[in-house]
């Protein structure tokens, strides 16, 4: 469970799928090596100067951990959080605790030359304290699918694994395009995606999951119900008359699905036709490479048959 999901994310600048390729080619942040050291600007636009390319990175973000493993940069990863559970080898790295309040002592003891953190899940206090301890912080704040590709390119450049990063991104974007193409011409069923059952939290404007639902050929009934991931009333969700209900599970499939809560509403089209599904929230709520696995799962559930 990423603790950030309850919060509202700021609306990012909406870039379209078409610009992914451009972002890939650009590799915007080719580090500039100068006499003073390495000057990079992070995903939030802050510039930081490193004496040398980082060789000891602590990741406070599960998706960053996943990307570092996926591009083969796991050897520079010296610390992760309790929530960094993928790939399984990530569990073998020393943990610095949770995401909201990681142990600063443990981070310092790991002697990192860079900490990757997110302002959405780690909290401002953590970033401020790391700054005060003069530990270089590379901040990320992905909000859209494009940001996943951006993040992969950035981490590739930081760790000197640009080739692997480009290969990973190309493979992912081919799969995204394939999904979008398959469902493009199909009718869009009304879908209710439940991020958290009680209190009810759903994806709305500007949320990654809303974007994925559109790509997967769905019409999300909560798409216009606020910004980011708002709390939602049950009746506002039900009144959209969903034809498909998708319940996110959390943490190895044992999270609160509350399937029975929805099955009581037998008059809803989704319940009447038995179209209540479950997906792993770890795939769809993290800005890592597996988000494309999640997208493919969504598309298969929403459009089981088709070209």
């Amino acid at each position: 469970m990423r603790r950030s999901v309850g919060g509202r994310r700021p609306l990012g600048h909406g870039r379209s799928l078409g610009t992914i390729a451009a972002a890939l080619l650009l590799t915007v942040m080719l580090p500039a090596l100068s006499a003073a050291g390495l000057s990079v600007s992070d995903q939030t636009g802050r510039t930081l100067t490193l004496p040398a390319p980082p060789r000891r990175i602590v990741s406070l973000v599960p998706s960053v951990t996943e990307i570092l493993f996926a591009i083969g940069a796991q050897d520079v990863l010296v610390g992760v959080t309790d929530f960094c559970d993928y790939p399984p080898e990530a569990r073998k790295k020393p943990s610095v605790g949770g995401m909201v309040a990681p142990s600063l002592e443990t981070i310092v003891a790991l002697k990192p030359d860079l900490v990757v953190a997110t302002s959405a899940g780690n909290g401002e206090a953590v970033l401020t304290q790391l700054d005060r301890l003069r530990i270089a912080v590379y901040a990320v704040n992905p909000t859209h699918l494009n940001d996943v590709f951006d993040l992969i390119a950035r981490l590739g450049a930081l760790t000197g694994r640009e080739t692997e990063a480009t290969r990973l991104s190309t493979g992912l974007s081919v799969r995204v395009t394939a999904v979008a193409k398959r469902v493009a011409a199909l009718p869009r069923p009304r879908v209710l995606y439940v991020l958290w059952p009680d209190p009810l939290i759903v994806p709305a404007r500007g949320a990654l999951v809303s974007e994925l639902l559109v790509l997967a050929g769905a019409a999300s009934v909560t798409a216009e119900g606020g910004d980011g991931y708002p709390r939602y009333s049950l009746e506002a969700a039900v009144v959209g008359s969903p034809e498909v209900i998708i319940l996110a599970s959390h943490g190895h499939g044992q999270g609160p699905m509350a399937r029975e809560k929805w099955e009581r509403f037998s008059a809803l089209p989704a319940v009447a036709s038995g179209r209540i599904y479950s997906v792993s929230g770890d795939l769809l709520h993290r800005y890592g490479p597996r988000v494309v696995d999640g997208l493919e799962q969504l598309a298969r559930l929403i459009h089981p048959v088709g070209p």
Binding site: M1, P199, P230, S241, Q254, A267
Partner: protein
């Protein structure tokens, strides 16, 4: 007697009117005609309209009436048996004890089936009982239960159980208890029919226990000795009223969360208009509590559409100033 009947009739009428009105408001944009069509079974109601009115709004209104009634009667009971105007489930820490019981039950995996609902209530009652007894033992001195000592004991016991809940949340997998933080603010949800049934039965039992002691609670106001001279066994009365009030608190907390201050606001408002006779107060508090909580919940689910506020936030906003008012205006008279 006629006064009681008139008060009850007026309260019942207002409650019924608000309950019907509440069926028509909510975040789903349902027309009044659609709601009427669902209720009368005539006209053109879509299946979704039926779900919204019958499966969401109706059970939630019922839960609000039951929880509000239970908490207000529990307030009357606690105030009577402690002879303390500030006694109330949340102030006394009894709600926190019940909440700890509920969280513990959820750690053991209890959810919302009919048997599980009973189990949940049992855990809540055990928690309420332990917390209430602890408050009594801490506060009881030579001369009865001093107002401030009792309130302080309640605060301490409440903090203890809140901390215990935090410990449970910290050591148990967050995914299993993630909803608890929200529930702790007081969260009325549309209960499934079996849970609603259990809620109703337990509330009826608690109501009957407190109502049965209402005349003797009046005599208790004379003090234990005065009551004894009139042939009332004060300890027995207190025990029964305590059991009833704890049971009511447990039911409300198990099914609606620890909603605060209902047991303070409602009994006092009624006492100001109807007088201190517990025989009048108990039944009118049941109706008045339901009316108050339903009004608060209707606000909670319409103020920030399409999201919802936890209803406990609204009752606390009303209740905290009221508590201060009572503390300043009455304690001077009642404190030893």
């Amino acid at each position: 007697m006629t006064r009681l009947l008139a008060a009850l009739a007026a309260l019942a009428l207002a409650t019924a009117a608000l309950a019907v009105g509440a069926l028509f408001v909510g975040s789903a944009p349902l027309s009044g005609r659609a709601v009427v069509a669902v209720l009368t079974g005539r006209g053109t109601a879509t299946p979704v309209d039926e779900v919204v009115v019958l499966s969401l709004r109706l059970p939630r209104i019922a839960a609000a009436l039951l929880a509000g009634g239970a908490l207000a009667v529990a307030g009357v009971g606690f105030q009577g048996l402690t002879r303390n105007p500030l006694a109330e489930p949340s102030v006394l820490g009894v709600s926190s004890g019940a909440a700890f019981g509920v969280v513990l039950a959820q750690v053991f995996g209890l959810r919302a089936g009919p048997l599980e609902a009973l189990g949940l209530t049992a855990f809540a009652f055990a928690g309420a009982f332990v917390a209430g007894s602890a408050v009594y033992l801490i506060a009881a001195g030579a001369g009865g239960l001093p107002v401030h000592t009792l309130v302080l004991a309640g605060v301490i016991v409440g903090i203890f159980f809140s901390s215990a809940i935090t410990v449970l949340i910290s050591i148990v997998d967050f995914d299993r208890l993630g909803g608890v933080v929200h529930w702790l603010l007081g969260n009325l949800a549309p209960l499934p029919p079996p849970a609603l049934g259990v809620f109703g039965l337990v509330t009826a039992l608690g109501f009957w226990l407190v109502l049965g002691q209402s005349r003797r609670l009046n005599l208790l106001a004379l003090g234990d000795e005065g009551a004894l001279q009139l042939g009332v066994d004060a300890e027995r009365v207190k025990r029964r009223a305590f059991a009833g009030a704890a049971l009511l608190t447990a039911a409300a907390v198990a099914f609606a969360g620890p909603i605060g201050f209902v047991g303070l606001i409602v009994p006092h408002a009624l006492r100001m208009t109807l007088g201190p006779d517990n025989r009048t107060l108990v039944p009118s508090a049941f109706l008045g509590g339901g009316l108050f909580l339903l009004a608060a919940d209707t606000l909670a689910r319409t103020l920030i559409v399409p999201a919802e506020l936890p209803v406990g936030v609204i009752t606390a906003f009303c209740g905290a100033p009221f508590f201060v008012y009572l503390l300043r205006s009455r304690s001077a008279r009642i404190a030893p």
